[in-house]
């Protein structure tokens, strides 16, 4: 049971993050979507799992200032709005992948 782990994490352009995984998959992310998916207890209700970020409140120009590893299992983002309490686990990051293949898969699941 070994879930994929990030092999390389890099900035692709001003608003895009790229992660290549050790199973060969390459992920891309819009940083704004990542900020909106913050899993911390301020952004997601701990008991109900309900999203607490009101739609439209994350500005288009949101950027990470800094990313760093937390132990061997997660990445912590320090955002330009001062928010930094979210620990994005490797599993979560993999789920949030916005590459064409993953996007069409998650669209299939929703219909």
């Amino acid at each position: 049971m070994t879930a994929p782990a990030p092999r390389n994490i890099k900035q692709i352009d001003e608003s895009t993050l790229g992660i290549s995984w050790n199973d060969g998959h390459d992920s891309v992310y819009s940083v704004k979507n990542l900020r909106e998916s913050c899993p911390c207890a301020n952004c997601i209700d701990e008991w109900s799992g309900k999203k607490l970020i009101a739609p439209g409140t994350i500005p288009q120009e949101i950027r990470p200032r800094n990313l760093k590893a937390v132990g061997l299992y997660a990445i912590q983002f320090d955002w330009s709005d001062g928010h930094n309490t979210g620990l994005y686990t490797h599993e979560l990051l993999r789920q949030l992948c916005e590459c064409a293949a993953c996007k069409s898969k998650s669209a299939d699941n929703q219909t």
């Binding site: 092999r7 890099k10 001003e14 200032r65 590893a69 061997l72």
Partner: protein
Amino acid sequence: MSDPKLQEKIIDALKTVQDPDLHKDIVSLGFVKNMSIDGGNVKFDVELTTPACPVKEQLRTECETKVKAIDGVEQVDVNMTAVVRSTEHSQPVLTGVKNIIAVASGKGGVGKSTVSTNLAIALSMTGAQVGLMDADIYGPSIPQMMGIPISPPKVGSENKFFPHEKYGLKVVSAAFLTKQGQPLMLRGPMLGGIIQQFLQNVEWGELDYLVIDLPPGTGDVQLTLTQKAPISGAVVVTTPQEVSLIDADKGVKMFQQVKVPLLGIVENMSYFICDGCDKKHHIFRQGGGKKLAGTFNIPLLGEIPIIESIAEGGDSGIPVVMADAESSAAQAYKDLAGQVAAQLSINQANKGEKVSADFELSWKS
């Protein structure tokens, strides 16, 4: 007078010697060093990844036999050495420590501290530099087991302090930070602070292995350590019965979630051998540890029997591996140390490319 052909033949012969754990021959692994050939006298070093290697003697014999069988070789002198490889990390904490082993359990009272203490001593008896961190803040028992009187640690410069030393081990415990017998009454966030101190402010020096004795459960201390310390691997201790296994199962899953490699399971209090009838009595039932290891497909590293001398060693401050090095209990711990060291070496050899624990990226805009 060294014969290049002879050297070639010796290397070829050594290429047929496999390290059973790493599944490669010892020449490709770069273990063979400092070969000198003088007429028919051949000398070389075999440098293993741990002095605690469980198959050390087996490898030596195999090298000797195979080289001796070559025409023109009269005398073979194999020198077994070891340089412990470091699990890669460059976090600002514990920079001089090559491998960090966390000893955990889901449940209390399964003998974590006894296992940690004897494991640490058994590792150091092989010649490795070993440290022991008692991270059980509320119930520190390592000082008692190691026979170290409660006294404040020696303070160095810049808020640093030195570990206590006993039996060649460097030891740190929360017990040294309080008066004898006084409980530490702390809320969760303070625990994290003490663990940070242990990681950042202790002058550990150069260590091959740091054994961390964790408190039971899956709480603050475990999380802080997995987030702040570059743990090389975890050992989960359980007793054989179902009630203990339920919690050990959670311990294993915790490490899986935070991606700390599991070295394996230790089954403690496995059986009792009666001195009257020599029969193995499985007091807490049989095969629990094996079952748990099977469920997660991880190794069962050892089964430690119930022996009075183990408890005696804990109470007297002379752990059983030291007090009675030839006893079956001591042997069980020495075997365990060998297994743990071997698993660490295997993990390092097999680890793929991964973002390391010190990854950091500043965003450019």
